[in-house]
């Protein structure tokens, strides 16, 4: 495969078109050499007769229709993998950038992966303790789950992600730790630096693989970054039976890159200019989380996205929410009140939680108390709405109790400090303490037996 094609037919945005190509295959990698000798990587995204449409990962700056040579490599984008990748930092295409030399690869895997056969999956059933009450108590993270953080610009999602990484452990009695695959897409330099520094300070750096495509790196590379990261995660989880926690940030940049490429290809857009296949594309990333029947390891994903204009109905959070198994939503109002982490529990949800908590996992009362805290806090919102009309003084005694419950819930249950690692029992006990504010009759989501065992009314 050593034919080189001289010149380009067309260059638009990050896309070049080469004519007269023989034997090119769909999604094959190409290497483009500029006049200066600089080499850039690209990928075939469409072929029609002898015309190949190529997406150039590192941008088309400096290319002209006559000065480049294009070589087709005859294989899809692959990444070399071995256990050595732990502790290493790569660029968005999976090439080491930490100056420690190349990876001695045991295997080369296609970054696109293959879909997991649904019948080979194992249903995720055991929880991960994050030490954060709002997550552990009410939106429990399950091993093998994909649980995104829906955030907004300026909200502390990065801190939350770091705290989860630092504190995550499989369960209180099973002191096995995680390895972490971290993929940054279009993230600012100082944010990437913050993550790196935090991993270093907490001494987990040797267990982290970082893939960095920063805000000033080529946009097209961003499409490949999460795929490299997830391929590495699959390798560690399913070849080496490790438990892998994958952080993908920021999915909003990823989707915008997708839109940019789609529009330069001249595709028909759907909502807000995003391509019609964005759902399938996101699914091909998120669905790579999970567990397999015949392997020990697991891939747990925490994608982070910033909702444009804090709008949860924007296509990015919307499509993500349809694929992932729940979401953790951060709220600007809580943040402004000084509550950290500003997790707003009502729209937050963990779909897999029902099978991974309670007797045998966390504690027998967990499902019921979680349900009750949700229901009571939902009622607090109604009372708040009423109070904003008639004033807090005019509320009935019962409603006043709810106001007090709501305030305490935000200040004592949701809020905690950035290095506070609460154990599961501790989280649930705070929950019972808060429910003690309300009279027993109001707790209609909890069975009598459980109430007898745990409920302690406040005088």
């Amino acid at each position: 495969m050593n034919i080189e094609y001289l010149g380009l037919k067309e260059v638009t945005g990050s896309i070049v078109i080469v004519q007269g190509v023989k034997d090119a295959s769909y999604e094959e990698m190409v290497e483009i050499t500029l006049e200066s000798g600089e080499k850039r990587a690209g990928r075939v995204i469409e072929i029609q007769d002898d015309i190949a449409v190529i997406q150039v990962f590192e941008g088309t700056t400096g290319m002209s229709s006559s000065n480049t040579r294009t070589r087709f490599l005859g294989k899809a984008l692959e990444i070399g993998l071995s256990k050595e990748i732990l502790g290493r930092t790569m660029d968005g295409l999976g090439r080491p950038i930490d100056g420690l030399g190349d990876i001695m690869a045991n295997v080369n895997w296609d970054v696109n992966g293959n879909p997991i056969n649904p019948i080979s999956r194992k249903y995720p059933r055991n929880y991960i303790q994050t030490g954060i009450s709002a997550i552990d108590g009410l939106t429990t993270l399950i091993r093998g789950q994909k649980l995104p953080v829906f955030s907004g610009n300026g909200l502390p999602h990065d801190q939350l992600a770091v705290q989860i990484v630092k504190q995550a452990q499989l369960s209180a009695d099973e002191h096995k730790d995680f390895v972490i695959v971290f993929a940054a897409m279009g993230v600012k330099n100082d944010v990437a630096d913050f993550f790196k520094r935090s991993f270093q300070e907490s001494g987990v750096l040797q267990k982290v693989v970082m893939f960095l495509n920063l805000a000033n790196d080529p946009v097209v590379e961003r499409i490949v970054t999460p795929r490299c990261a997830l391929t590495a995660a699959e390798y560690l989880a399913f070849e080496h039976n490790m438990h892998v926690l994958v952080i993908l940030t920021d999915m909003t940049s990823y989707c915008e890159a997708l839109r940019e490429i789609s529009s330069s290809k001249g595709e028909i857009p759907s909502r807000k200019g995003f391509p019609g296949y964005m759902y399938s594309d996101l699914a091909s990333l998120y669905e790579r989380a999970g567990m397999l029947k015949d392997r020990e390891g697991s891939i747990t994903q925490i994608p982070i996205l910033t909702m444009p204009n804090d709008d949860i109905t924007h296509p990015i959070p919307d499509l993500t929410g349809y694929i992932t198994e729940g979401q953790i939503v951060l709220d600007r109002g809580l943040h402004q009140k000084g509550v950290y982490p500003p997790i707003i529990v009502l729209p937050s949800l963990s779909r897999l939680m029902k099978d991974g908590i309670g007797q045998g996992f966390t504690r027998d009362d967990h499902p019921q108390i979680a349900n009750q805290l949700f229901a009571s806090y939902a009622h607090v919102q109604e009372v708040k709405a009423l109070a904003s009309v008639i004033g807090e003084d005019e509320l009935s005694d019962m409603d006043a109790l709810y106001m007090s419950f709501g305030k305490n819930f935000e200040e004592r249950f949701v809020a905690q400090s950035k290095d506070e690692n609460r154990i599961m029992d501790g989280t649930l006990d705070i929950g019972w303490d808060l429910l003690g504010i309300l009279p027993r009759d109001e707790l209609d989501r909890i069975g009598e037996e459980v109430l007898d065992k745990y409920y302690k009314p406040k005088a």
Binding site: D49, D50, I116, R121, Y279, K293, A378, L386, L395
Partner: protein
């Protein structure tokens, strides 16, 4: 299989083929050296457009394309029940054996296991005349399902050979017939049927029997008929899949076809792990023995997602033809519509609303119109009911898929984000959901449950309506200033919401509730309401009644009374009477003391 053309272009799942004008529309083709499965979707001048059901990575211009001369077809015969198939009826078990935990490409799989032997009972004799749809053999496929082997609708002839009863594979010839041209036709245990072609029947019947689901809000307020259609729209996290799973588990159909179309892999795994352990309340057999799963998850190829809906409905019609009642759960039709949009975009068709193709409404109506309660060609009667989940973008019901679906379904169970946030499940909003079947089903409910059923149901619905109006006022001024009658309405409605409409899918008793108990529960609630009004008439305020704890007691009746012993409800009436009499008594003595 002959080579007919060569690949001329590749764009995602859509490829252009040239070199022959002999391809037929909707013919199945095998693409490239790896022989990926594809289907001809358009013929333009010398270009043949093919959609490929597997990933097209690595295909090259010039690779061969083989013609099959046949439309993409399903193999219909024993071995379907309990199976898990992808969008084009390839068994996932078979794929797992061939390629491990990850699905690779170009696998040569067979839809029905050809090595498995079935005990066949042949029920025709030489000399019998068979017309389309007639049954010629029986196979006990699972303990719950007797598979009736039928002759293809377009064949007929006189039986000239029958094998002996015994064990046969699906490929063995068990009957031969001679048609009117004196051709001998071999009949095996299966028939091939084009995936996109509706199966014929003799005529439609009126829909007057409900599909009983055991879910209170559906069976009482918004019932669906056997052979009917329903849509379950809702934003993410509102419980679409949960509702679909509940219906698949408990509805009183004979066969369930569950289509996981572009949804999560773990949800299919959940069904696979849960269903074999669940026992059908009627027959006592595992529910998996009446269930067929079509699983084309969101990360599997998009063209096969488009086909999965048709695969599912065609399998459903095949079982309907045997005289069974089949319920199809399609989760989610929005993903199917998006697959249409994606393919349409690759074909550079002119888009209509939000990028969806202009033929979206007609495709939706074609799909939902395949539901129905019919007389089959073999004079048995059967039905196909369709329950389609819709995932509106941004939870906004005004988007094209929800709006167009609404035109073609007669039951609309709108899931509500606010209800889901406060963990009110099922989060079906009782104010903007509807069922157009209520009038047709009235006779059934009145003859099978109680002549009072609709009176009671309508009263419940009216109270909920009134509550929503009162809540507008309460939001502005609080509940304290309302007159006592209205306070009673609020209390009763709250009881209806928490005690009746909320249903716990994870509770052994509450997950499925027979209609008789649903009726008893409604009656009990209304009885309490009546007695409450009676107390008001005597000057006793609602708060007194509430203090007795009777409302909380009724909230818990769904857990405290099991589904079999409904006479236990009589105690409840006695209790309500006692409490009310007690209140009246103490009130009288209080008045006596004061006077």
């Amino acid at each position: 299989m002959e080579q007919k053309g060569k690949i001329a272009g590749v764009n995602g799942p859509v490829i252009t083929v040239r070199g022959s004008n002999q391809f037929q529309m909707l013919e199945m083709v095998l693409v490239g050296k790896e022989k990926l499965i594809g289907e001809v979707i358009s013929l333009e001048n010398e270009n043949v457009i093919v959609q490929v059901y597997e990933s097209t990575t690595g295909l090259k211009v010039g690779e061969p394309v083989y013609s099959s001369g046949e439309p993409l077809s399903l193999q219909l015969g024993p071995g379907i029940i309990g199976g898990v198939f992808d969008g084009i009826q390839r068994p996932l078990k078979n794929i797992e054996e061939k390629s491990g935990s990850f699905i690779s490409r170009g696998l040569d799989t067979e839809s029905l296991d050809s090595s498995k032997k079935w005990d066949v009972d042949i029920i025709v004799q030489e000399g019998d005349f068979l017309k389309g749809g007639d049954i010629y053999a029986l196979v006990q496929e699972t303990e719950l399902v007797k598979h009736k082997i039928m002759i293809k609708p377009d064949l007929e002839g006189t039986v000239v050979f029958t094998a002996k009863n015994g064990s046969y594979t699906v490929n063995d010839v068990i009957v031969k017939i001679k048609n009117k041209y004196d051709d001998i036709i071999d009949l095996t245990l299966f028939q091939l049927w084009p995936v996109r072609k509706p199966r014929p029947f003799s005529h439609r019947r009126r829909l007057d029997k409900p599909l009983v689901t055991g879910q209170r809000i559906i069976d009482t307020l918004f019932p669906i008929a056997k052979g009917g259609t329903a849509a379950v729209p809702g934003g993410f996290g509102t419980g679409k899949t949960m509702t679909q799973h509940q219906l698949a588990k408990w509805c009183d159909a004979d066969i369930i076809v569950y289509i996981g179309c572009g949804e999560r892999g773990n949800e299919i795994t959940e069904v696979l792990e849960d269903f074999p352990d669940l026992i059908d309340p009627k027959s006592g057999k595992p529910l998996m023995e009446r269930t067929v799963l079509i699983a084309n998850t969101s990360n599997m190829p998009v063209a096969a997602r488009e086909a999965s809906i048709y695969t599912g409905i065609t399998i459903a019609e095949y079982f309907r033809d045997m005289g069974y009642h089949v319920a199809v759960m399609a989760d989610s039709t929005s993903r199917w519509a998006e697959a249409l949009r994606e393919i349409s975009g690759r074909l550079e068709e002119m888009p209509a609303e939000e990028g969806f193709p202009a033929y979206l409404p007609s495709r939706l109506s074609q799909f939902y119109e395949r539901a129905g309660y019919v007389d089959n060609l073999n004079n048995s009667e059967g039905s196909v009911s369709i329950i389609g989940a819709v995932s509106p973008q941004g939870g906004d019901f005004s988007e094209p898929v929800t709006q167009n679906t609404k035109r073609f379904v007669r039951c609309f169970w709108a899931l509500d984000r606010q209800l889901a946030y406060s963990r009110h499940y099922p989060a079906i909003n009782w104010l903007n959901s509807y069922s157009e079947y209520t009038d047709d089903l009235e006779d059934w409910y009145e003859s099978q449950v109680s002549s009072e059923f609709f009176k009671v149901r309508n009263h419940i619905a009216r109270l909920l309506q009134e509550e929503s109006k009162l809540m507008e006022i309460v939001k502005l001024i609080g509940a304290d200033i309302l007159p006592e009658e209205q306070k009673l309405i609020l209390e009763t409605s709250k009881l209806i919401r928490t005690g009746f409409l909320q249903q716990n899918a994870f509770h052994d008793i509450d997950t499925f509730v027979p209609i008789e108990k649903q009726f008893k529960m409604m009656q009990a609630i209304l009885y309490l309401h009546e007695q409450g009004a009676n107390l008001l008439g005597k000057g006793i305020p609602v708060s007194q009644l509430r203090k007795t704890g009777i409302f909380d007691e009724l909230v818990k009746m769904k857990y405290n009374y099991d589904n079999e012993h409904l006479e236990a409800f009589d105690e409840l009436y006695v209790k309500i009477d006692d409490l009310c009499n007690g209140l009246i008594e103490s009130y009288r003595s209080f008045e006596r003391v004061n006077s």
